[in-house]
Amino acid sequence: MIAPNNQLNTETEMKGNTPDPSRRDWLFNVGMALNILAGLALAAPLIGFVFSSFAERKDPRSWISLGRLENYPEDSTRIATYRNPYTRPWDGETADIPCWVRRLKGNQFQVFAINCTHLGCPVRWFKESGLFLCPCHGGAYYEDGARAAGPPPRGLFTYDYKVENGELWVKGGEMPTLSNPV
């Protein structure tokens, strides 16, 4: 940038400050403009590739079966695992997502995400005291998912669920966070 300008100055001085754009000047400006265009053409797909989550509005969630209702006795809380619907062939066991299924009476359920609402660590169910406890920072929740103690800002995240053909279905597919609670 500096070099052509300097040369330009000497040149215009030599020509007695005539304002006509020189051929060199034209080449430089067109060259810069072309490179800016080419750079944008290169950058746009790169940025779109990496930050696609800002562009794509598709809901990654779908209905997943957690198995027969008989697996979940009334008045009990059990762990269930599903294969995440958003999968890649190389996911391995990371796409096996656990959740806590609490069956109250009949077809009344509560399905809690495994992730503590504080920072996402896996909560563990303690039947005897009726609490979910988090191993990271000591968050505690009651059996209905309400916050009991510790740093969590809210109760456990709950999945939408439905009962169909004798099976329990939940709507899952996304890691729950405070800005996106299931």
Binding site: S53, F54, T94, E128, P135, Y142, G173, T177
Partner: protein
């Protein structure tokens, strides 16, 4: 030998090696800079080179796929010839790098080396600090085990607290809606290509600035610097006592470099690689995720902060700290350099290091986390059941079965989330215990729905016996109205009433 000399002269003519040497390794430094305090920067760079070499070698075998990474780590540990050792050197190299970088930063701060005219050297160093921490976090993810998986979850949950665009940022971080498929590839790219590339670029600038602006002279107390005179003073120092860095001032760096390498190799050989821990399978919920030691202090702060402060501390505090570090050479760019005349600087370093150290210790011990196995695994101390009534002994069983022990210690064993209960009877009367158990409060869940009145009675009967032999139990301030044994029926309605 004539041809050898000719080749050397030819190479020098083409590559200008002599000139390059004179302006780099042979550049003049103040003789006072050949100090043992000045060895940490070169040692940090050495660690970075070791990390590049060992990391490249590990990448020959490592597979950055969520399905294969864990197996390839096991393969490196157990099947690849010297694989465990290279993993260990890479791990210890990173520990040494963070430690030496911290030492370097403290030394530069205490010796006033960030002051005029070396502002940019300091600022580029701040970016190197951030990049190194980013390498530490992404490196922890490369060791793709349970801790890596849940560490990512914590990272995503923190990101999810960003206002407005949190959800999208989580997707950018994880490269998808959950930790799977592309997540590890993304962190591999950051750890192996992008961040090291940035580090190399910034280190180049950092070193270039050392050459252009010179190395800081060993500060003398009572010699404050002024922008108008410093450049001439420094030129004078170089004129009077300037020596070429190589060979005159490099000796201590060399010795320290060798010690660092030997230290890394010895730690690697005797202490071995770190992990991988359990497999990165989220369905294994019996896990106790902990970050590597660089992030234990933050991990601890997140447990100890009141929740209204969390978002502020998570986002505002780092921004303020980074801004302060970047602005430091402009806030105090002149004046006294010697630590002996800068008590606030010295005290700040001590305070910050103590804070980080104490938080990291707390993160390691995690007293806020329930002791998940204490209720079924820890025996009731025998002195707490000896000579007790059947009711109290039943209460001891309830104490265990209802998992009170997970948060409350007895005899030094159990959780530390709540207070130890060895002498609870000296602090609370029976009715107060009933209220606390049923209603909870003070960060204790309420157990009213999970305990029958009979269980509460037995539990409280047990806890009322928990006081020292010579220490009387707590009493109500009101004079005792009857000497009858405590009747649960009298207490219970009051407690239930209170819980409404």
């Amino acid at each position: 030998m004539q041809w050898l000399r000719k080749t050397a002269v030819w190479l020098d003519d083409r590559l200008h090696l002599t000139a390059l040497y004179a302006s780099t390794a042979g550049h003049e430094v103040p003789a006072s800079a050949g100090s043992w305090f000045y060895v940490f920067g070169s040692a940090t760079l050495l660690c970075f080179i070791i990390q590049i070499v060992t990391g490249s070698i590990l990448a020959f075998v490592y597979i950055p796929s969520t399905n294969e990474a864990y197996t390839s780590l096991q393969y490196l540990n157990h099947a690849q010839f010297w694989g465990w050792y290279i993993r260990a050197v890479h791990n210890w190299g990173s520990n040494f790098m963070v430690a030496l970088m911290t030492a370097h930063m403290i030394q530069v701060f205490l010796f006033g080396a960030y002051k005029y005219p070396r502002e940019l050297t300091w600022i580029s160093g701040v970016f190197l600090l951030l990049m190194t921490l980013a390498m530490a976090f992404t490196g922890q993810v490369m060791r793709f085990d349970q801790d890596a998986y849940w560490g990512l979850t914590i990272g995503a949950s923190i990101t999810g607290r960003v206002p407005l665009i949190g959800a999208q940022l989580v997707h950018v971080l994880l490269a998808g809606p959950i930790i799977a498929g592309e997540t590890l590839s993304r962190f591999f790219t950051l750890h192996v290509f992008i961040i090291p590339g940035l580090i190399i670029a910034i280190v180049s600038m950092h070193l270039r600035l050392v050459l252009t602006k010179g190395i800081n002279e060993y500060p003398k107390p009572g010699h404050p610097i002024h922008k108008s005179t410093y450049d001439a003073e420094y030129a004078e120092i170089l004129r009077k006592e300037g020596v070429p860095f190589v060979p005159n001032a490099v000796g201590k760096d060399l010795i320290f470099a060798a010690l660092v390498i030997i230290g890394i190799l010895a730690c690697a050989f005797f202490l071995g690689p770190k992990g991988p821990g359990g497999p990165p399978n989220p369905t294994i919920v019996d896990t106790n995720p902990r970050p590597d030691f660089y992030f234990l202090a933050i991990f601890a702060a997140l447990a100890l902060l009141p929740d209204w402060m969390e978002v502020i501390i998570l986002f505002a505090a780092p921004a303020i700290m980074i801004a302060f570090l970047l602005l430091l050479p402009f806030i105090s760019g002149t004046g006294e350099k010697s630590a002996g005349r800068r008590p606030v600087a010295v005290l700040s370093v001590i305070f910050i290091m103590l804070t980080i150290g104490v938080l990291a210790y707390m993160g390691e011990t995690s007293p806020w986390s329930p002791n998940m196995g204490a209720w079924s695994a820890a025996p009731v101390p025998i002195q707490y059941v000896r000579g007790r009534t059947p009711l109290a002994m039943h209460g001891a069983t309830i104490f265990q079965n209802k998992q009170c022990r997970n948060c409350h210690m007895l005899g030094g064993v159990g959780g530390e989330r709540g207070p130890a209960l060895d002498d609870v009877a000296t602090r609370l009367t029976g009715p107060e215990m009933v209220r606390q158990v049923i209603q909870g409060g003070g960060n204790m869940p309420a157990y009213g729905k999970k305990l029958t009145p009979a269980e509460v009675e037995a539990l409280v009967a047990f806890m009322e016996t928990l006081h020292g032999r010579a220490t009387p139990p707590a009493q109500d301030a009101a004079p005792p109205q009857n000497k009858l044994p405590r009747d649960f029926a009298i207490v219970m309605p009051r407690a239930v009433h209170a819980s409404r």
